[in-house]
Amino acid sequence: MARVRLAKKEDGLQPPQILEARERPPDHSVPDGPSMSRPIPRRVGRPVVVVSGCQKVYEGKTAALREVSMTVHAGEWVTIVGPSGSGKTTLLNIIGSLDQPSAGQVRVGGKDLARLDAADLADFRSRTVGFVFQRYYLIPYLSVEENVLLAQHFAGVDDPQAARTILRKLGLGHRLGHLPHQLSGGEQQRVCIARAVVNRPSVLLCDEPTGNLDGESSRKVFDAFRRLHARGTTIILVTHQEGYAAAGDRSIRLVDGRITDDGRSAPGRDGPASTP
């Protein structure tokens, strides 16, 4: 299990203490076999996401993030919780370069996102991070398989077999040629997960991935995350559902744009499978 430390504003960005370094690249293929009901204790490695002094002020001077600093290590599963409007999604979007901070620095995979040009940002989005959206954002006129291939296309990869394999392991082998509207919400979210991991990103960014799903679908989605995490995928998951805070290695609480808690999750966590 990782030991983490909140980077204090007055301290500036502090290099995290790495207790057990592990430098092997993550394996994003979804493993076969029975799903785990709880995460395997992880041996975490180098910092992969470093946010320091990040602020986001929208027009109208609404501050969504205030001096947020955090570090996520390779192989770690961090759950960001907080009430609606606390800045969770904004923080996730900034980490994924879908939005820009008003101030502060964000480094992902060793790259300062503010210094990347348009081409580098495109490479970053296609290879370094994978997004799982609450609203799925599947292209309605493309089949399940083609929606996943779209992500491969932008990464310059043409490997339909890999896409099919991932979809089969996520239980969608019989849905490859279906259009998104022919799938249930849980299935669409799993397609979104397949699209997010097909390019083997360093970090999987999940924004309320079960926000629109029922309990059974949520469990299947979390099973997929657990299997990915077990293979070394770094996961940052945003949710407003407090019951899911314990699903990862660590939970960070955001309130009104500030981190109020950044600590290890309580033992015995097992995510939605045990939530009431």
Binding site: N93, G96, L98, D99, Q100, A118, A119, A122, D123, F124, R125, S126, R127, F131, F133, Y137, I139, P140, Y141, L142, S143, V144, E146, L149, L150, A151, H153, F154, A155, D158, G177, H178, L179, Q182, R195
Partner: protein, 403 residues
């Protein structure tokens, strides 16, 4: 099952085709816009190319557009003639490269009669010495009964105007003797009689003054009229209207030569052609402006409706060219179809105008094909580029949020 698989096509092509099939209503609007842009331009190109060429040909058939005459108020009168050296100087002018054809004429008066019948001192007629080969090339409207005169024949082959032939009963293949006479009847000196025997090779009908003339070979006329190396007039055909002025000024500067332009007919036809061309060009320009605005609006609306798709593509790592290709591809596809349809309609319109206004068929024009291909491509490429540029100016999350 959902969409049909298109395994043979590259992934972006499949995406574009699926999008095009899904948005066929907007596609129809795109198609229509492209067609409207292409129709007047194709018509203009077809008409301006074909009709200009044809009218130039017609104008050539109308005859000379320059007359070169001696510096004298009484052209054609003995003593007021162009010397061969003046003619040589005219033909040597740099501006003469625009001369398509020229024909010399030497006019005089002679009596005509049958040899050995005592009718040699018959009715005076106006004879015109000329070069029949040049006449044949430059004055195609001459309608001839008989055969074209052979060069150097003995007796000399000649052509008689229809009216004169009827008046003097000059029949084809008959031989006639000529003798110069004083056209005033006032006892002026006339050249000594020459052994001028001709044979009527043809009868000409033009509907003009030529019908009352007797055309004989130029060398014979020069001998008959005692005007060696001289001509009364040069009829000159200049290839294009805008070259008439410079050549006329150059000829005017030569001592002994005067020039008259025959531009009324030319100018009239040119005005018709220029007006028609300007009208088509104006319509084409206005259509292009309107359709450009329509293309920008179509692309802007299409991108606005697909805002979340733009955000998603960017979130997945698409660069601007890929976004343009994928989201503007269906517009280009429909634009190409519209361009093809516009070409067909534009050509049909040109053919209709050609038949009704200029009374000539309009063949398909290669330049029109290129225009039909290029205009929709450029129009919708630029419109898509503009729309995508706007869409990408904002952070991807905004596109995803607003979509």
């Amino acid at each position: 099952m959902g969409s049909s698989a298109l395994p043979a096509l590259a992934f972006p092509t499949r995406l574009i085709l699926r999008g095009a099939r899904l948005r066929w209503r907007r596609g129809l609007l795109t198609l229509l816009t492209a067609a409207v842009a292409v129709i007047p331009i194709v018509s203009y190109l077809a008409l301006s190319a074909e009709v200009t060429q044809a009218i130039e040909g017609d104008l050539a058939a109308f005859g000379p557009n320059l007359l070169v005459i001696p510096e004298s108020p009484a052209p054609g009168v003995a003593g007021a003639r162009l010397d061969s050296r003046v003619v040589d100087r005219i033909l040597a002018l740099p501006e003469s490269d625009s001369v398509r054809s020229w024909v010399p004429f030497l006019y005089g008066t002679a009596s005509v009669g049958r040899p050995g019948t005592g009718t040699e001192n018959g009715t005076p007629v106006v004879v015109a010495g000329t070069d029949f080969e040049r006449v044949r090339a430059a004055q195609p409207w001459w309608q001839m009964d008989g055969r074209w005169p052979a060069v150097g024949s003995t007796p000399a082959d000649s052509v008689v105007g229809e009216v004169l032939a009827r008046t003097l009963n000059l029949t084809l293949d008959s031989s006639q003797s000529l003798r110069a006479v004083d056209p005033t009847g006032g006892g002026q000196d006339v050249p000594p009689a020459c052994n001028c025997t001709i044979r009527i090779a043809a009868e000409v009908r033009t509907g003009g003054g030529e019908d009352q003339l007797l055309f004989i070979p130029l060398p014979l006329a020069q001998e008959l009229l005692g005007a060696p190396g001289q001509v009364s007039v040069l009829q000159v055909r200049v290839a294009s209207g805008d070259r008439i002025g410079p050549l006329a000024r150059a000829i005017d500067a030569i001592p002994g030569a005067d020039v008259r332009t025959i531009e009324q007919l030319v100018a009239g036809d040119r005005v018709v052609l220029a007006t028609t061309s300007l009208l088509l060009l104006t319509i084409a320009g206005e259509a292009l402006v309107c359709t450009s605005l329509a293309a920008v609006a179509i692309a802007g609306t299409a991108l606005a409706e697909r805002r979340s798709e733009v955000g998603l593509l960017v979130a997945l790592g698409a660069r601007a060219p890929a976004v343009r290709r994928l989201l503007g591809g269906d517009l280009l596809l429909y634009g190409a179809i519209g361009g093809a349809g516009g070409y067909a309609l534009g050509w049909a319109m040109a053919a209709s105008i050609g038949a009704k206004v200029f009374e000539r068929p309009i063949p398909p024009e290669l330049l029109g094909v290129l225009a039909a291909l290029l205009i929709p491509f450029v129009l919708f490429s630029l419109a898509t580029r503009l729309a995508v540029h706007r869409a990408l100016a904002a952070a991807p999350v905004e596109a995803l949020r607003e979509g």
